[in-house]
């Protein structure tokens, strides 16, 4: 009886081990491509342009201690960056953040750009899981353009923006991300 049990466990273990081995190999072969995809999702030139007109690159903000403090106190902040143009001039600051209010299917990941005068230069969605054709419309310029030029020194109220019809969750989630970025900007970068 015990022998049988060992045999059963052994076969399961073998199947598991072989599967794990195959996966480990595949994971290794695709690791770089996957990392590249994840990075590209956030560094697409179209996104950079939409967030801060004229920018070609987002660099990590040089005051790393400040960024660490911010991340420690605000667990939805992913990064703080500076947007630079082709000549290397700083155009403004960019906050990369998750939303604080869940969308329909999860958190949304955004860039929110701020001009030196403290106005929002643009926002762009990096990743989301909202419904295709509904919540996904929050990624379109028709929705995101309304944030350009808004005052980045105080929270934007729900009544100050036009939500996407039928996508209340997604719109609210989007807005919460923008407001989270505003909170970080006013607290640490002004």
């Amino acid at each position: 009886m015990k022998n049988n049990f060992v045999k059963l466990a052994g076969i399961l273990f073998l199947i598991g081990a072989i599967s794990a081995g195959v996966l480990a190999w595949l994971n290794d072969s695709t690791k770089d491509l996957i990392a590249q995809n994840d990075a590209m999702a956030s560094m697409d030139p179209a996104i950079l342009e939409a967030v801060m007109q004229g920018s070609v690159m987002f660099n990590d903000y040089e005051d790393t201690a400040l960024v660490e403090t911010a991340k420690g106190e605000n667990n939805k902040i992913i990064n703080i960056m500076t947007a630079v143009d082709a000549s290397g001039n700083e155009l403004g600051k960019v906050v990369r953040t998750w939303s604080t209010v869940k969308g329909f299917n999860g958190d949304m990941e955004l860039y929110v750009g701020f001009t030196p005068e403290g106005k929002i230069s643009g926002v762009s969605v990096i990743s989301h899981q909202e419904t295709e054709g509904l919540g996904s419309k929050t990624t379109l310029p028709a929705f995101t353009d309304q944030f350009k030029g808004k005052d980045g020194s105080s929270e934007i109220g729900e009544n100050d923006i036009d939500a996407v019809t039928g996508a209340t969750y997604s719109s609210k989630s989007f807005l919460s991300a923008v407001n989270n970025a505003i909170e970080v900007y006013t607290k640490y970068l002004k």
């Binding site: 599967s19 299917n105 999860g106 209340t168």
Partner: protein, 191 residues
């Protein structure tokens, strides 16, 4: 209180069946009688909560430090399968009536999308341990709510005069759809 809001949101506003579609198979399969449905719902709450705790710990204590995240699917599903096996043995001894009534659907809790879905979501949303606990209990309670409500409605539907083609799953799905409309109304709920 953020945790209360999280509970209500996962319980009603983002109801696992009517809004997220996870757990639909047992939902359609076990909801014919209210007591069986209730029993299933409670078993699911138990499994989802325990599964969330164990998978959470395994993920953060083993998979992440060892950079084995790609094994998440396999490891999680095995944990869930083992858990369901234990629940089955436990029910067989302590509640044989319920065990009989649930029949094939008990081992099928393993393939209940809701269990794996909640476990994975805990990781994706980067919840703390307490939050994932609240999320799990809230979500699975939402499953209980949905399945019991549905069983109540189906009881009545069985006596209705329907065109032949619509009997069975077709009318069940349409009914679920109408209930889903009701739950959609919660989306404006501000907490």
């Amino acid at each position: 209180m953020e945790l209360v809001s999280l509970f209500i949101t996962s319980f009603i506003v983002n109801n696992i069946i009517f809004m997220q579609f996870l757990g639909t198979c047992p939902f359609l399969g076990v909801s014919k009688k209210i007591d069986t449905a209730a029993g299933m719902g409670i078993a699911v709450i138990f499994v989802i909560t325990l599964a969330s705790i164990i998978t959470y710990i395994v993920h953060h204590a083993i998979l992440v430090p060892l950079e084995l995240e790609y094994l998440q699917t396999i490891v999680f599903i095995l944990i869930i399968a083992a858990l369901v096996q234990f629940v089955e043995m436990f029910l067989k001894k302590s509640a044989p009536g319920l065990y009989q009534a649930l029949g094939i659907f008990l081992p099928l809790i393993t393939t209940n999308c809701a269990v794996l879905g909640v476990a994975i979501n805990n990781i994706i949303y980067e919840y703390s341990f307490v939050k994932s606990l609240v999320y799990s209990v809230g979500t699975s309670s939402g499953f209980l709510l949905a399945i019991v409500l549905f069983a109540g409605v189906r009881d009545k539907v069985d006596y209705a005069d329907l065109p032949e083609s619509l009997k069975g799953s077709a009318i069940s799905l349409i009914t679920a759809g109408l209930m889903s409309v009701a739950f959609l109304g919660f989306s404006g709920l501000q907490l």
